[in-house]
Symmetry: C2
Subunit: 99 residues, 2 copies
Amino acid sequence: MSNEMNDFFYQQKLDEIFEEKDIRFAGFIDSEGCLIKGKFKEDIVPFETDAEQQKIFRELAYRVSTRKNFDHSMGQVKYSASRREKLVMMSFPIKDNIL
Amino acid sequence: MSNEMNDFFYQQKLDEIFEEKDIRFAGFIDSEGCLIKGKFKEDIVPFETDAEQQKIFRELAYRVSTRKNFDHSMGQVKYSASRREKLVMMSFPIKDNIL
């Protein structure tokens, strides 16, 4: 896909996700943990600073990468989730990137 | 708790967990990823070698530890789960250890 097509694909997916009312944040990150495209819902005050969010993305990318070492035996990861007191964080590996 | 009490507590919890028919493995690991007590259900053939299982435990302990860095803002983790093609892996932080 060209970059323009990618951008259209990402934007379309994010629009679909934000139709769910409980979503605070949705975004695509690459395998290094850099945000490709994403945002908080309007009116949401993030719990984290920008620097902390970047750290979360990097750690998430690292987790997704290390989980791949066990794909051969347990099968690929469809999604991962962490239930916290204030929110649920979910990640979906999509090719080389992560939603 | 004394070690004996701990052992009783762990065994009791594991017995409860194995009442669920779909459980393949249940165990407690410490913050370094060492297995304190746990086992596969009888008749289950593990997907992983012993060495790979130890690696999974270590990586899990590392994940639980890094997630704690964000407890102050998003609240403590109640559980985490990864849905794979062949199984679901769940972890529950319990004080310094992990179920």
